[in-house]
């Protein structure tokens, strides 16, 4: 059964069958990544444009690798040094690139909804690689893949997301996806970082880690975005670390082994201590590897639509 949409804009409203199809397809691509020649031909002749209007290393490399491993031709684009800085509109930029006969667009933009807008003005398939504080669907899909790989299921697991929920597209996409797949989702952080009305998405809210940790199966630790003057949201980095930093001592006190995830890049000893990030319960590097397989699955499934 094919995907419902010909774009991947977000997990809000995505059907459970669609998420399951993407996760199942990614298993096949994960196997390809273990081969001596990590390349298969299904996107031969297709051209994918990676339009990154906002900085990214990991996501851009992951998409680019996924595209190349499916034998697609890849166009790179970053806003610095392009006509965007000369005042060209998003629509004009995209339509100019599309005029060169491309088939798919992977887009990151600082404005929420930018990929949704793009999908209405161009013919290509659009994949959202992060739009402002809105969604980052492939990150949530790779998180769910990693959870399933580790626990064998998603349904019924207690997943807690810790950090700046207000400004996190990773949190938002994870909440939509995990709820659809039947997980119990909670968020934890200082009140200044929890959006009002977040309960309406069906999550439990905690302001103290120790209240929720003893029941958690999967802990997804968000990065503190020091560059987005997060300093206004809490008194000091040290205080944040003391209250919300994931440390070995805190986990031992909770008395429960849990899977530790982080979307990267990590600030060691801010939101997560170095020994926890490197511990056997941390799946941070598996997330990176699974990300390539998930993106291959999404590109493959959208390529015939």
């Amino acid at each position: 059964m094919p995907l419902q949409s010909r774009h991947l804009l977000g997990l809000d409203g995505m059907r459970r069958e669609d998420i399951q199809l993407i996760l199942a397809t990614a298993v096949s691509f994960r196997e390809v990544l273990d081969r001596p020649i990590k390349k298969v031909p299904p996107l031969t002749g297709k051209t994918v444009a990676n339009m990154f209007f906002e900085n990214s290393t990991r996501t851009r490399l992951s998409f680019e690798l996924a595209e190349r491993r499916l034998s697609a031709d890849v166009l790179g684009f970053t806003s610095t040094g392009s006509s965007v800085s000369k005042g060209e509109t998003l629509k004009d930029t995209a339509r100019n690139i599309e005029a060169m006969k491309i088939d798919m667009v992977v887009m990151r933009h600082s404005a929420a909804g930018a990929p949704h807008y793009l999908s209405k003005v161009i013919e290509s398939n659009v994949i959202n690689a992060g739009d402002g504080g809105h969604e980052h669907p492939t990150q949530a899909l790779l998180d769910m893949y990693t959870i399933r790989e580790r626990h064998g299921r998603i349904e019924g697991l207690n997943v807690c997301i810790v950090g700046d929920i207000s400004h996190s597209r990773v949190a938002r996409s994870n909440i939509y996806g995990l709820k659809t797949m039947g997980a119990n989702v909670s968020v934890c952080g200082p009140a200044t970082m929890i959006p009002r009305d977040i309960e309406k998405l069906g999550v439990d809210v905690y302001n103290h880690l120790d209240d929720i940790l003893p029941r958690v199966d999967v802990l997804n630790v968000l990065r503190i975005q020091l560059e987005r003057d997060a300093g206004r949201l809490f008194p000091s980095i040290r205080e944040y670390h003391n209250c919300y930093g994931i440390t070995r001592a805190r986990l031992e006190k909770a008395g429960r082994t849990m899977t530790i995830m982080h979307p990267g890049p990590i600030n060691r000893d801010v939101e997560i201590s170095a020994d926890v990030a490197d511990s056997e319960h941390s799946v941070i590097l598996q997330q990176v590897l699974n990300g390539v397989a998930i993106r291959m699955a999404v590109l493959y499934l959208l390529s015939t639509k």
């Binding site: 094919p2 199942a24 397809t25 298993v27 096949s28 196997e31 390809v32 081969r35 001596p36 020649i37 390349k39 298969v40 031909p41 299904p42 002749g45 297709k46 493959y300 499934l301 390529s303 015939t304």
Partner: protein
Amino acid sequence: MRKLKAQIMDEAGLDRTITRLAHEILERNKGAESIVIVGIRTRGEFIARRIARKIEEAEKVKLNIGSLDITLYRDDLLGKLEQPQLKSSEILFDINDKNVILIDDVLYTGRTIRAALDELIDLGRPSTIQLAVLIDRGHRQLPIRADFVGKNVPTSSRESIRVHVKEVDGEDSVLLMHPEENE
């Protein structure tokens, strides 16, 4: 619904054919030493396992058996409306310098075999690749020939061949079906 035209093999017939194919493979390769077995999903995988078991019984050896999902290598993938469900290939051994016995249930246009050859070559450099099929029904569209054939069945291209195996279909048989009535 297609109607049955003839039964080509029953359970005993299928077993005899698989036994003969196993012995022909052994004869051509002078034993089982360098052989690895690769079946094409879905039905070819089960035929491959049975041929492998016959070889193992005859030679008292243990063979490496793998399966290939050729979906990603199909030449009609981008034109298809319905995307086939992707399954994984499972070849957990080295095929370099081995004699790979590639096994499928029915040889028809040859396009599946072309895809399988491309995928195998991406996995390594076998010494030889030999093709064994249960049924060769003709109508090739590519210059591909099987090394071992269970049975040649002349067909019209509007007819179809159904290979049933116990593991999937609950019974062992090979059936020739009439063309679709509304065709």
